[in-house]
């Protein structure tokens, strides 16, 4: 899951990025609204956290611009103001959730996961496919109840593919969801990780679609509700 953090306070922004990384997200942090808008429209983010009180361009303004551009990216707003009117304004403007500072990073992570699930039309947190189960919160993958060791990157790719089950994800897409701005993308990284996943989970799970990308096909009895 790639999340963009838009927060002008250095301590908080840095802390959110580190904290969410610890929770398995790929997190990027930007300090101003204009840059955030640009990033959200031009790059692929699965989620965004936007602070309302930004200098120059307010958080609500960024939210409006993103929605007006037709982007459905789930957005959670952060604010220091807890008045009901402020909450209503945010939610009516198109935010998907709202948290008042100070926030608990664990709660924030859980809410982000819930937003992502809702966005994909899923109710159940745990992703299931045949005898494979992936628990995003616990970072665990089990096959037939037996735990499988996956690296962080492998977990991310499997999560992305399961989350978008039935949809072909391009290599580009997978790269973007793995790597933030501060990280270098190793060439062929995605290929290597998919190869490892096939080795650990079986060849039939992930299908290669030539020239397009990778996909995990839907199983009729295992469509996540």
């Amino acid at each position: 899951m790639r999340v963009l953090i838009v927060e002008d306070d250095a301590l908080l922004g840095d802390g959110l990025r580190e904290g969410l990384q610890q929770h398995g997200f790929t997190a990027d942090w930007i300090e101003d609204g204009d840059g955030a808008l640009h990033a959200l429209l031009c790059e692929r983010f699965d989620l965004a956290i936007i602070d309302i009180g930004l200098p120059r361009r307010s958080g609500i303004s960024v939210l409006n611009a993103v929605r007006n551009a037709g982007r459905e990216t789930p957005i959670l707003m952060l604010t220091a103001r807890d008045a009901v009117d402020d909450k209503i304004n945010c939610l009516d403007a198109g935010a998907d959730d709202y948290l008042v500072k100070p926030v608990d990073i664990d709660e924030l992570a859980a809410r982000l996961r819930a937003l992502a699930r809702r966005h994909a039309g899923q109710r159940n947190a745990t992703l299931r496919h045949a005898d494979l189960e992936l628990d995003p919160a616990a970072h665990r993958v089990t096959v037939d109840g037996m735990s499988v060791e996956l690296s962080r990157r492998e977990f991310s790719i499997l999560h992305a593919l399961l989350h978008a089950v039935g949809t072909v994800l391009s290599r580009d897409h997978l790269e973007q969801s793995l790597y933030g701005w501060n990280e270098e993308i190793e060439s062929n990284a995605v290929q290597v990780h998919v190869h490892n996943l096939r080795r650990k989970l079986g060849d039939n799970l992930i299908e290669t679609v030539r020239g397009v990308g990778y996909v995990i096909r839907k199983q009729s009895e295992d469509i996540a509700k």
Partner: protein, 471 residues
């Protein structure tokens, strides 16, 4: 009541006096008329009358009939013989003196007599009036006068009571309304139906209520703003602490905990600024003393120099004069410190920040100059607002310039922004103290400085800077 009583008394006595005089005058005139009449008669007739009957003098007749024949006349000749008298006159002289008025007791009754001598004929004419009749008439008249007054009192009292009550009712309504108010309610008082005499009072009261209401609103707003401002530093602290807990590697933990510490310093600084601002809000312009702006500027420069150096910024002072002003040294220190901190924060690395203290005719000027871009023109009005942050400020509390402005107000000083060719200047212009040149150099208590600017503050001004190990 007593005033009314006095009025009644004086009316009574006044009336008595008037009537007495009336009677006396009448008596007097009667005497003269009698004399002239009698003396105008031929002698024979007069003497004859003298030997005539002497009816009983019965002064105890009822006053009413007495009133009808209340005048008695005696005419005495030069030898002291009663020579002529009226029917009811006694035979003894009516009065002892032969000239003027007197009061006599004759056979148990009080009489008022008047005598005068007719020198031409050698006769003394005496006339007299019994007091009984007089008194009766007097009282009668006087009482008649008094009846309305006496009856009037209760009626008047009742009327006054009503009128005053009516007039006071609006005041009582106001008093009730005010007493029903709880301390939260500062709405103005309704000014309809209030007598004109009290309107100025109520108008002033309403003015006061409005000012109070605004002041309380400002206080509340400030408190709310401050609380919100503190939420962000606290949020940062919490998240960094959680990051520290969740970090696998020791280095990650250490980094996060260091950030927590610097965040605490920043939050403390914000709290101190808030307290300062709150104290300044309550400050009154008493208790000022002589202060040397130059000395204070030197102190500020010394305190800031260490932290500035970590950004490779030099802080210089140029003090041509001592710059004596009348004010609070602590407050002036805070003001200059805030301005210099801003200068250091926004100056480019490797540049110079200078404090220039100079004195002209009747002003003391402190110019704080940095080589940065300064405050954009559009923001210059708003920068003094509380919690206002410019586009670059993220480490500040947003309160520095509000504090500067408040302190400037307390000292009747002006703050001006000036663009220089190579930077930005903030001028603070005090009016020079008119005291004698002998003054104490008031330098700031170091405890004050320590409390307001804890060691860590300077670190926060620099993003990504590692704090020094030894301080």
């Amino acid at each position: 009541m007593s005033i009314w009583g006095l009025i009644v008394l004086s009316t009574y006595r006044g009336a008595l006096n008037e009537i007495r005089q009336l009677f006396d005058t009448q008596l007097q005139q009667s005497a003269r008329v009698a004399a002239r009449t009698l003396l105008g008669l031929p002698d024979k007739l007069i003497r004859d009358t003298k030997t005539g009957d002497q009816s009983d003098v019965d002064p105890t007749d009822d006053p009413q009939s007495r009133y009808e024949k209340n005048l008695v006349v005696q005419v005495w000749d030069a030898d002291g013989q009663l020579f002529l008298h009226s029917e009811s006159a006694p035979l003894t002289p009516l009065s002892g003196n032969d000239d003027g008025f007197s009061d006599q007791m004759i056979e148990g009754d009080a009489w008022r007599t008047y005598s005068f001598k007719d020198a031409a004929h050698g006769l003394t004419v005496k006339v007299g009036e019994p007091y009984d009749a007089r008194n009766y008439l007097t009282e009668h008249v006087v009482l008649q006068t008094l009846y309305p007054i006496v009856l009037g009192l209760p009626v008047l009292a009742v009327l006054i009571w009503f009128a005053v009550g009516r007039g006071l009712r609006p005041l009582r309504r106001v008093a009730r309304e005010v007493s029903r108010r709880d301390p939260e309610n500062l709405d103005t008082i309704d000014v309809n139906n209030i007598p004109a005499e009290v309107q100025p009072l109520i108008a002033e009261l309403n003015g006061l209520l409005q000012r109070l209401s605004h002041a309380i609103d400002r206080e509340r707003q400030f408190t709310a703003d401050a609380a919100h401002e503190l939420r962000t530093p606290l949020a940062g602290l919490k998240v960094q602490a959680q990051v520290a807990l969740g970090a696998g590697a020791r280095s990650g933990k250490d980094k996060a905990i260091e950030k927590v510490l610097s965040g605490v310093d920043r939050a403390s600084h914000l709290v101190d600024q808030l307290l300062t601002l709150s104290r300044l809000d309550q400050a009154t312009p008493t208790g000022k003393a002589a202060a040397s702006v130059a000395a204070i500027a030197e102190t500020v420069a010394n305190d800031v120099r260490y932290f500035a150096r970590q950004r490779d910024i030099d802080v210089n002072t140029i003090t041509r004069d001592s710059g004596a002003v009348c004010g609070y040294s602590d407050a002036i220190y805070i003001m200059l410190r805030n301005l210099v901190d801003n200068a250091v924060r926004y100056a480019p690395a490797g540049s110079v920040v200078s404090l220039d203290v100079s004195q002209r005719a009747d002003t003391v000027n402190v110019a704080i100059k940095d080589q940065g871009t300064g405050i954009p023109l559009t923001s210059r009005q708003r920068v003094f607002e509380r919690f206002y942050r410019g586009t670059n400020q993220q480490d500040g509390s947003g309160l520095g310039l509000s504090i500067v402005q408040r302190i400037a107000e307390l000292h009747d000083a002006r703050v001006e922004f000036v663009d220089a060719s190579d930077g930005f200047v903030v001028n603070v212009i005090f009016s020079a103290s008119r005291r004698s040149t002998v003054y104490e150099v008031a330098s700031t208590d170091h405890r004050v400085r320590e409390r307001i600017w804890p060691r860590g503050f300077g670190d926060v001004a620099v993003k990504g800077h590692t704090p020094p190990v030894n301080n």
